[in-house]
């Protein structure tokens, strides 16, 4: 009798619902992340000639000057990118969430746009504007006789990357700021604190979950990014080194895979450190429908200063897109501050040729982003709200996707899925466009997961308990209470997933098997391989940015309206 009671108790601890969900997610991650990656990476642990297990390749890594130099360069660039990105994001986040600011929603949406920078073309545009012989420096040299090395070596990488990824901090920090109880700030004001001190002592520490989430994402993303350094011809960083070695043909070099492992380990370390920093800071606030940071009015002089700062920052972070637009209308732009002349020809070309790319992209990116927020919310909930054993590993596994270079994932997918024929058509599984969606989803899942986790951290569990007390099932509580309260974070996750998936290339290019299935980034890549294709490529890039930007803005507006109706906005 007693033994029955005991086992019933231990079964009760593992509730069936969450366990099933966890198992499903684990299966998904296993199939579409772990297996493909392991297939590729185990080469790093193999002795090249005998095939036996060995760590000698790692020893070689640490003894090699070039690799160690690359390691420190990557570290330096990532850290500096976080610093610069913070400097760009903080004023924008603070001013738009904290004050009565006309166009706050527009600015928030514009602030996402740097993320939507198709590969190749972002760096090309920045070179055109800020390069040694770019617009700014040509003008500076002509008029003042000096030039600023924006784009030289590592500086160029830092510059481009911080602009490209600063939205991570902006979005997450803004969501965090919006969720701080108004009384926290008012009580500080009441005690005599105001202005920057108020921000530094009270507001910012309470917004830390959002900031840390964003900053750690920026660090990891810059650390692992290969497109920008490669295009700027900076090859002594870890990610480009890995790519160059894995993708060179005719030789079997394990070092590329060794570097991939190092990348993954470092990224995981960075995440662990940030998790440590946030431990014990339980900042859940009880929303009583009227919480959220009070919006203050600014005096006219303050307004002018604020708008100036915002405008300057926006101009800087939208510089790549400005360059892109100029390029899309340009006839010839060569060694001069501005193009020689302008034309609509490129848009005509793109319009005629690339409609399919655009629809494909919208479909893939939306599906991938939707998948991401669903899985992200599920994992966040399992980790923060249940006591399922081993749930932390779901989080780690999902985040590990960040550290996997796109090319590794692409090759892994090919290896894992090519041999499996699909039912009915006999085509290999890897050519099915849904696999492409999964690749996009897996690579973006970390962003969504971080956003959902931060959002859930700010929702007190008492709110759910209240609902359950009123006889709502777990599922209904999730749908009616938890998810709506998380909507800000979920939206942030969806937006970043969607925006970055829409322009992803490195995994895509390995997996695309037919033009009709190809997304936009692929079309752009094809254009950028020839001199005559710059214009159309830029035009296609502008299309991408506009479409994704519009989608982002619309979803923002819709969700803001929902929040306002629920009294979460003032």
């Amino acid at each position: 009798m007693t033994s029955l009671a005991l086992s019933r108790e231990s079964i009760a601890r593992v509730r069936p619902g969450p366990a099933a969900v966890a198992a499903l997610i684990a299966l998904f991650l296993l199939l579409f992340l772990v297996v493909p990656v392991v297939q590729v990476i185990f080469v790093a642990f193999q002795d090249k000639t005998t095939g036996a297990f060995t760590l000698v390749n790692f020893a070689d890594f640490f003894r090699n000057d070039l690799f160690m130099r690359s390691f420190w360069n990557s570290f330096y660039v990532s850290a500096m990118s976080v610093v610069v990105a913070s400097a760009l994001a903080l004023p924008l986040a603070y001013l738009t969430t904290r004050f009565e600011f006309r166009g706050a929603v527009l600015i928030q949406s514009l602030g996402v746009i740097p993320l939507i920078m198709p590969p190749f073309i972002g760096a090309v545009a920045m070179q055109l504007l800020f390069g040694r012989n770019g617009t700014v420096n040509l003008l500076l040299r002509d008029h003042f006789g000096f030039s600023i090395p924006f784009m030289e070596g590592l500086n160029g990488v830092i510059f481009v990357q911080s602009i490209h990824y600063f939205p991570f901090i902006l979005i997450n920090l803004s969501a965090s700021l919006k969720n701080i109880d108004r009384a926290m700030e008012e009580s500080a004001q009441n005690l005599g604190c105001h202005g920057f001190r108020l921000f530094r002592r009270i507001v910012f520490p309470l917004a830390m979950p959002g900031y840390v989430a964003g900053a750690s994402l920026v660090f990891i993303k810059v650390f692992d990014d290969l497109g920008t350094p490669l295009l700027l011809n900076v090859s002594d960083m870890l990610a480009p080194q890995a790519y160059l070695r894995i993708s060179s043909i005719g030789i079997a070099d394990p070092m590329g895979y060794v570097i991939s492992v190092v990348l993954i380990v470092c990224s995981l370390l960075a995440l662990w450190v940030s998790a440590l920093a946030m431990r014990g800071k339980d900042y859940a606030t009880v929303q009583r429908g009227g919480g959220g940071l009070a919006r203050r009015r600014m005096k006219p002089l303050e307004l002018v200063a604020a708008y100036t700062v915002v405008l300057l920052i926006l101009m800087l972070v939208l510089a790549p897109h400005i360059g892109l637009s100029l390029l899309s209308f340009a006839t010839i732009w060569s060694f001069s501050p501005f193009p020689d002349a302008f034309t609509m020809k490129h848009y005509h070309t793109v319009f005629v040729e690339s409609g399919q790319y655009i629809t494909n992209t919208l479909l893939y990116a939306s599906l991938a982003a939707a998948l991401d927020v669903v899985i992200g919310t599920a994992i966040a909930y399992l980790v923060l709200r249940t006591k399922l054993p081993g749930r932390q590993w779901l989080d780690y596994a999902a985040m590990a996707a960040l550290a996997v270079p796109g090319v590794v994932l692409g090759i892994g997918y090919l290896r894992s899925f090519y041999g499996i024929p699909m039912p009915f058509s006999g085509q290999p599984l890897s050519s099915f466009w849904l696999i492409l969606v999964f690749a996009l989803a897996i690579r973006r899942l970390p962003y969504a997961l971080r956003a959902c986790t931060a959002a859930l951290q700010q929702v007190s569990s008492s709110l759910e308990e209240a609902a359950e007390n009123l006889a709502a099932t777990k599922l209904r509580t999730l749908g009616r209470i938890v998810v709506p309260l998380m909507s800000g974070g979920i939206l942030a996750g969806f937006v970043t997933s969607f925006a970055t998936a829409a322009v992803e290339l490195s995994a895509t290019i390995m997996l695309v098997q037919s033009q009709s299935d190809a997304p936009l980034a692929y079309g752009l890549y094809v254009y950028m391989q020839s001199a005559a294709g710059r214009g159309p490529g830029a035009a296609l890039g502008v299309f991408a940015v506009v479409i994704v930007g519009l989608g982002t803005y619309l979803s923002h507006v819709i969700i803001e309206r929902g929040r306002r109706e629920r009294g979460q906005e003032r």
């Binding site: 090249k48 000639t49 000698v56 390749n57 070689d60 890594f61 003894r63 090699n64 000057d65 070039l66 090309v124 070179q127 040694r132 012989n133 490669l230 295009l231 011809n233 090859s235 002594d236 480009p240 160059l244 993708s247 060179s248 043909i249 005719g250 030789i251 079997a252 070099d253 070092m255 006839t331 010839i332 732009w333 060569s334 060694f335 001069s336 090759i411 090919l414 290896r415 090519y418 041999g419 024929p421 085509q427 290999p428 050519s431 290019i509 390995m510 695309v512 098997q513 037919s514 033009q515 692929y522 890549y525 094809v526 950028m528 391989q529 020839s530 001199a531 005559a532 294709g533 710059r534």
Partner: protein, 448 residues
């Protein structure tokens, strides 16, 4: 022969003839081509081919060369690609070695054995050349004007101090055609002197790009002034209106761009028809289009070319200077790539610093001649030019084995690991460049 036999023979012959005619069918269905060529080229051929063979739909999959090879390697078990179409012969060698191509002898007549000094087709027939290109020097006229630089003519010109920090090239490990250019210099001048030249050139590089298009792209936009590029990049840039010029130096290689039928191609007939098409006179003419501008391998096509179009069959200076030995090139292929990367690409900053010091010292000596300084500078140059391995060592299969996987038999000695070798070379270069720089600075101090 008896009458009956003769008529039977005639009937048989007729049947056979009509049978063969029946076998020479029209191709149809989908034709999948993995290619690294840009859209300008592929669309032109795609349209022309589809017009000639309306039942075929051509599907172009654009990948850079390396990704394309990897793709074929990964999908070999259930191959869906019909043709591989790219510039670099080395990619085809890799595919050939991995048994991923199938032999096909094009039915087109009139294609010569060699173009310049380089064979047009693979001797085993695994791939065929359809267009030729040569390496040369491209520059941006506006940039040159703004920086007061004269138009270069020969490789040697680019080693001069005046071009310091204005030149770019793509890494030979990333661009098969650049590799061939480097190899041409090595074969033309000899191992020691060739590397010296390569390093003197490298000392003037602003940057070394990862993809070959990075160089003409940079020249087009004026990021740097001079680029070492393949001719059609420069010519098509000109056709697009960019303010650029191009010249072939005397020592250059003309290299064919190739096409090969993939093993187990789903649509073999269409694949072979396509190969024949691009070698046919109609196909070869497509190469003359301004956006494409490549050199046809069919000498007859040049009659249709505009005036001044380079003709490697008439103009003997083009690519015939060097007697290119393909075997030698193959044997040391990976070693040359690794040497270039470890000694130049990844040490570019140090190399440039040493070169700059040398240039400054030489400029000072020109004003104030000083024998001691001059000998110091010579030593510095020697240090820069020094190589960690000789030509024989470079060709040694042991060394080459470090970069590849196969061990032919258990009794073969295990070669050093690639990473070890690279580290050795990198350390070698670093040391030498630092020492060279010191010497040059000493020389400068003396000459002041």
């Amino acid at each position: 022969m008896s009458r009956t036999l003769r008529s039977v023979a005639a009937a048989l012959a007729f049947v056979l003839a009509s049978g063969t005619a029946a076998f020479a069918q029209d191709p149809s269905g989908k034709l999948v081509i993995v290619t690294s060529f840009p859209k300008d080229l592929t669309s032109a051929f795609q349209q022309a081919f589809q017009k000639a063979h309306p039942k075929v739909t051509v599907e172009i999959l654009n990948r850079n060369t390396n990704a394309g090879v990897k793709f074929l390697q990964e999908t070999a078990s259930n191959n869906g690609t019909d043709l591989f179409w790219a510039s670099a012969p080395d990619a085809f060698e890799v595919l050939k070695g991995a048994n991923l191509l199938q032999a096909y002898k094009p039915k087109v007549e009139g294609i010569p054995e060699k173009v310049g000094a380089y064979p047009v087709n693979d001797p085993q027939g695994m791939y065929a050349g359809f267009a030729a290109s040569g390496y040369g020097i491209m520059w941006n006229t506006r940039y040159m004007k703004a920086n007061n630089l004269p138009a270069p003519k020969e490789w040697a010109d680019l080693t001069k101090a005046i071009y310091y920090d204005h030149v770019a090239i793509s890494a030979p490990s990333r661009s098969g055609t650049t590799h061939l250019t480097i190899e041409t210099i090595l074969q033309g001048e000899g191992w020691e002197k060739g590397w010296r030249t390569n390093k003197e050139l490298a000392g003037n590089y602003r940057t070394i790009t990862e993809r070959s298009f990075g160089v003409p792209d940079g020249v087009n936009s004026g990021s740097f002034g001079v680029g070492i590029v393949i001719d059609f990049f420069a010519l098509s840039s000109q056709a697009s209106g960019f303010p650029v010029e191009f010249t072939y130096p005397t020592v250059t290689t003309i290299v064919p761009a190739n096409i090969g039928v993939v093993k187990n191609a789903p649509n073999k007939l269409a694949a072979e028809t396509f190969v024949d098409f691009i070698l046919s006179p109609a196909g070869q003419e497509v190469l003359l289009q301004p956006a494409i501008r490549r050199l046809p391998v069919n000498p007859a096509t040049y009659e249709k070319a505009p005036a001044g179009y380079p003709n490697p069959f008439k103009d003997t200076s083009l690519g015939a200077q060097v007697n290119f030995d393909v075997e030698v090139s193959q044997a040391r292929y990976n070693v040359v790539d690794a040497l270039f990367d470890q000694l130049i690409t990844f040490q570019l900053d140090d190399l440039k610093a040493a070169t700059r010091a040398i240039h400054q010292a030489e400029a000072a000596i020109a004003k104030k001649p000083n024998d001691k300084a001059r000998s110091l500078v010579a030593e510095a140059r020697d240090l820069v030019a020094a190589m960690p391995v000789t030509a024989e060592q470079a060709a040694d299969p042991q060394l080459a084995g470090a970069f590849t996987v196969e061990r032919k038999s258990a009794t073969d000695a295990v070669p050093e690991r690639q990473a070890q070798v690279e580290q050795k070379w990198a350390a070698f270069a670093k040391e030498n460049y630092a020492a060279a720089r010191k010497k040059a600075e000493e020389a400068l101090a003396l000459a002041r």
